[in-house]
């Protein structure tokens, strides 16, 4: 079978299984860009489900009040008492929730969805309400990501049994199988009675282990899938073909390594065609026949091998290539949440909190109204008079918006590696930078390294979080030559601007003795060089960057201090700067720590 045909077959089988046991399987990750194939899959999937089953779509950027439930503003104002409103998840109880653009789902929303999947109920403590609603749901995560970098949050995909890739499927291949809603309904009725042997469980566990799947949710979900497959085929016990189907659909896409035996197989990308299917492995293009298969033999090892071999053939080609390269694949993904800081003005809105607007905080109108709504009846007599406002809002009601932005403080080290500095203190300066690096690492800051010597400045290390790289490039830093302070500052300014454009917060740490002797143009001349340096410093001051200047000369220099004040930087002579003082100094100029609590 060609790859697109196999992908489509698996995708439709996955849809059928999910229709049989939505809550048990948790859902499906559908890797598909918008297009007719995706539409056909979704439409067909809908036809498999009972008419009355909820089928809700989650709008991107949904807030907690609609997701989990909260106060119904209009009803509350009308009734004069708090009226709760159910969220989308509670509304979808017993049905499906479609999540478009799931790769852009923020980790916080993913965590809420994961909690609902785990508990099968929505628990929310919001707006003065304690909400608790049943919510046995399944998710259809539509993953439209273009590259490996963006993937659905792993915390969520981990909980969904199934996945399907529609990307390689042309419309011509997308023929619909002959499974009908009646078949599904019959399977649903039979699901509870499907028996599972210990050997079957062991086979799935062994297969998961052979694929290097650490999580124990995977074999559990595979077991649920095998049950659904058996029920779909009208069997009363999970048979070999059900295990194989489950291993193909649930386990193979999660593989982090190839099972040892399968590595001898021909080139990975041909595996689906070249690996002969085991003796009676099915190719269930259509709904499998309804015949009772007896339990597989008592030899669990043989069964496990059979399942493994069949599933290995289903490992997605791209994944196989990556695995062959030995690179980590699935293990990464998600987790790039980074440190996020709250901000009053920028970033993605993440909800509201009580507080007065002003001082940069923006009023969250709806939430303020929501806070005020329940009190209207009480407040009316107090306000009294004919000129009574329609809605009385008091200080306690005010809600302000909270935003979240990637904090990504980038500490830019600008190191003077010139002769004057280098000969005396470069080693110590390197030591100081190492200490600061360690500090940045603890705070998970990004660091960048610019060195200036001779005639120009050089960006040795673009912003990175890799401490190892930073240390390496620092160790390799040579010394000697003139002191082009102006060039160093300009390079730092350019980098700081780039960091700002990306929404980060640059912090400048300049290590120099301040004795500039190379001008902007790269020529000699102490006076011009110093004037250039001061001009560059003032441009940095105009950007209001947080900065520290560490004077690396053996005796504190007036030039360095002047440069620091022109830059608006904190001045710190190295002789007094032991490790603790250095790190404190850099920390005091860092706005990120304080701002995190401001909003």
């Amino acid at each position: 079978m060609t790859e697109p045909a196999a992908a489509w077959r698996d995708a439709t089988l996955a849809a059928a299984l999910l229709a049989v046991d939505p809550a048990g399987l948790g859902g499906i990750v559908l890797q598909a860009r918008p297009g007719p194939v995706r539409d056909r899959w979704l439409a067909w999937f809908r036809t498999l489900l009972p008419e009355a089953m909820p089928f809700r779509r989650l709008p991107p950027g949904i807030g907690d009040e609609r997701l989990l439930g909260g106060l119904d503003l209009a009803a509350t104002l009308k009734a004069g008492r708090p009226v709760a409103e159910r969220g989308v998840l509670a509304d979808a109880h017993g049905g499906l929730v479609i999540v478009p653009m799931a790769e852009r789902l923020p980790p916080t929303v993913a965590a809420r969805l994961a909690a609902v999947l785990d508990r099968r109920e929505v628990i929310a403590e919001r707006d003065g309400l304690a909400l608790r609603h049943d919510a046995a749901i399944a998710l259809v995560l539509i993953d439209e990501s273009a590259s490996e970098d963006e993937r659905c949050p792993a915390s969520l995909t981990e909980r969904l049994a199934l996945s399907a890739r529609l990307a390689p499927v042309p419309l011509g291949e997308a023929a619909l199988p002959a499974i009908t809603a009646d078949d599904i309904a019959r399977a649903r009725r039979g699901l509870g009675a499907v028996a599972v042997t210990d050997q079957a469980i062991e086979a799935l566990c062994a297969t998961a282990l052979a694929f290097g799947i650490a999580s124990l949710r995977a074999p559990s979900l595979a077991l649920a899938a095998a049950r659904a497959a058996a029920a779909l085929s009208g069997r009363s016990a999970v048979g070999e073909e059900d295990l194989i189907a489950a291993a193909r659909l649930v386990l193979a896409p999660r593989a982090t390594r190839l099972p040892a035996a399968a590595e001898d197989d021909p080139p990975p990308d041909e595996a689906p065609e070249d690996t002969p299917p085991p003796e009676d492995a099915p190719a269930p293009d259509r709904a499998p026949e309804t015949d009772d298969t007896p339990d597989p033999g008592p030899d669990a090892g043989a069964l496990a091998e059979l399942v493994l071999a069949a599933a290995a053939a289903a490992v997605p080609p791209g994944l196989l290539a990556a695995l062959a390269g030995g690179g980590p694949t699935r293990a990464v993904g998600g987790g790039k949440a980074g440190v996020a800081k709250s901000s009053k003005l920028r970033g993605v809105p993440t909800g509201t909190r009580p507080g007065m607007p002003g001082g940069g905080a923006r009023l969250a109108l709806l939430d303020t109204l929501r806070a005020a709504a329940p009190w209207q009846r009480l407040r009316r007599p107090a306000t009294g008079g004919a000129a009574q406002p329609r809605i009385s809002v008091r200080r306690d009601d005010f809600r302000i918006r909270r935003y979240r932005e990637r904090s990504e403080t980038t500490t830019i080290f600008v190191v003077d590696a010139s002769g004057s500095a280098a000969l005396a203190r470069l080693a110590e300066a390197k030591g100081a930078v190492e200490l600061l690096l360690a500090d940045c690492y603890v705070r998970r800051d990004r660091v960048a390294l610019i060195a200036f010597r001779g005639r120009a400045a050089e960006l040795l290390l673009p912003p990175t979080t890799s401490l190892v790289r930073a240390r390496r490039s620092l160790a390799a830093l040579p010394g000697g030559g003139g002191t082009p302070v102006a060039a160093g500052l300009e390079a730092a300014q350019a980098l700081a601007e780039a960091v700002l454009r990306r929404g980060g917060t640059p912090v400048l740490v300049l290590l120099t003795d301040g004795r500039a002797n190379v001008t902007r143009a790269g020529t000699g001349g102490r006076d011009v060089a110093e004037a250039d340096a001061l001009a560059a410093a003032r441009r940095i001051a105009a950007m209001r960057l947080a900065a520290v200047l560490i004077d690396t000369s053996p005796r504190p220099q007036a030039q360095a201090e002047r440069l620091a004040s022109a830059m608006g930087a904190r001045y710190l002579p190295l002789p007094y700067a032991d490790a603790g003082a250095l790190s404190r100094a850099v920390r005091t100029v860092q706005p990120a720590q304080g701002a995190a609590h401001a909003a």
Partner: protein, 360 residues
């Protein structure tokens, strides 16, 4: 007004404390994960240890274990009608209302120990408590509706995905956890009530690091990893499946085990006071902390307390090196200064120090 607050709260509490709609997976049926289970047992024996942090791989049953704790804990005696579940046997820990009434004899009752979930997205008013809108509207009285902190008093407050908790809620929790008291000043209310709870957090480090201030608040920190032996994994999946298919039957089959564990906790609590901590053990604990360079005395204190709770749990009369050795990784691994030049994992460093200080 206070009594009205009490009434309103107890009604609400009744709802919140009631048996959860879905039966919970029994604690004793959890396969493996001994360090996590032990840490939770230690916290159940001695609540002053300061909470448990469970960090690790996905799908290891972190939240299952914490939630299962609820069914396992022996019931506690409370003053009937007190919204904060005051303990009659501790006069110094009473809330204002109960203290005022202290002349009278309180009616008491046994209730389950609360294990309160702090759901993500919880708003401040629900965490600390707020004016009871319904009662304010219906009866025109200013009644305080206690929040999750009040509900968790004397019990456990559980935060799943603790690293995703919003900063302003974290600040709130830290403040209350440190003072043991919840102070509410909002909507014209001015209320303070005791709020001492065992903070239990769980999360996956891939989702983000935990703020150091919060990390330090946990007495014990446990790392969980998925088991790698096939037999263990099969057993996990098998039990999980059996539970999913028949929750009530599964729970019933494990009820004897649960009762046994509960009796052990009760016995350990009784023994705790009389479990001796010899000076030698304290000295050993101090030496270990010094060799690891942990900040402050919290590490030592937690280590000794946890070792004592473990000794009590295991029916020993005296704390020995054996208990110190077992609890040291959980008590200390999150208190190490991050040394970036040394890339060894914290656990390895603790293990190495244990071998050095206590001998192999």
């Amino acid at each position: 007004m206070r009594h009205e607050a009490a009434l309103a709260a107890s009604a609400e509490r009744g709802h919140a404390r009631g048996v959860t709609s879905r039966p919970l997976f029994p604690f004793s049926a959890i396969v493996g994960q001994d360090e996590m289970k032990l840490a939770l047992m230690i916290a159940a024996v001695d609540a002053t240890i300061g909470g448990v942090l469970v960090f690790g791989d996905r799908g290891t049953g972190k939240s299952t274990a914490v939630r299962a704790l609820a069914a396992l804990l022996p019931e506690m005696r409370v003053i009937v009608g007190c919204p904060y579940a005051c303990a009659p046997e501790r006069p110094q820990g009473l809330c204002d209302t109960c203290r005022e009434d202290s002349g009278k004899r309180h009616r008491t009752a046994l209730v389950p120990v609360p294990v309160v979930d702090l759901p993500l997205g919880a708003t401040e008013d629900r965490v600390v408590g707020a004016l009871d809108i319904e009662r304010a509207l219906a009866q025109g009285v200013k009644a305080f509706e206690p929040g999750l902190l009040a509900r968790a008093h004397r019990g456990f407050l559980y935060i799943d995905e603790v690293n995703l908790l919003e900063d302003h809620i974290v600040d709130l929790l830290l403040d209350v956890a440190a003072s043991g008291e919840n102070v509410v000043e909002r909507e014209g209310l001015s209320i303070r009530h005791p709020a001492r709870f065992v903070l239990v957090g769980s999360g996956n480090p891939e989702e983000g690091e935990l703020r150091p201030q919060l990390l330090d608040r946990f007495g014990l920190s446990v790392e969980v990893a998925t088991p790698t032996e096939l037999a263990t994994r099969v057993e996990v999946v098998r039990r999980r499946d059996a539970f999913e298919r028949d929750p009530a039957g599964f729970s019933a089959a494990w009820s004897a085990e649960e009762a046994k564990l509960r009796r052990r906790i009760v016995a350990a609590r009784r023994r705790l006071e009389d479990t001796a901590v010899p000076d030698a053990a304290i000295e050993q604990a101090a030496r270990l902390c010094i060799s690891l360079g942990t900040d402050g005395l919290r590490g030592e204190l937690t280590l000794v307390r946890a070792a004592r709770a473990l000794a009590a749990f295991e029916g020993e009369r005296t704390v020995t090196l054996a208990q110190l050795r077992r609890v040291a990784p959980s008590a200390l691994r999150h208190r190490l200064r991050r040394n970036v030049l040394d890339e060894t994992v914290s656990t390895t460093r603790v293990d190495r120090a244990i071998a050095e200080v206590f001998g192999a």
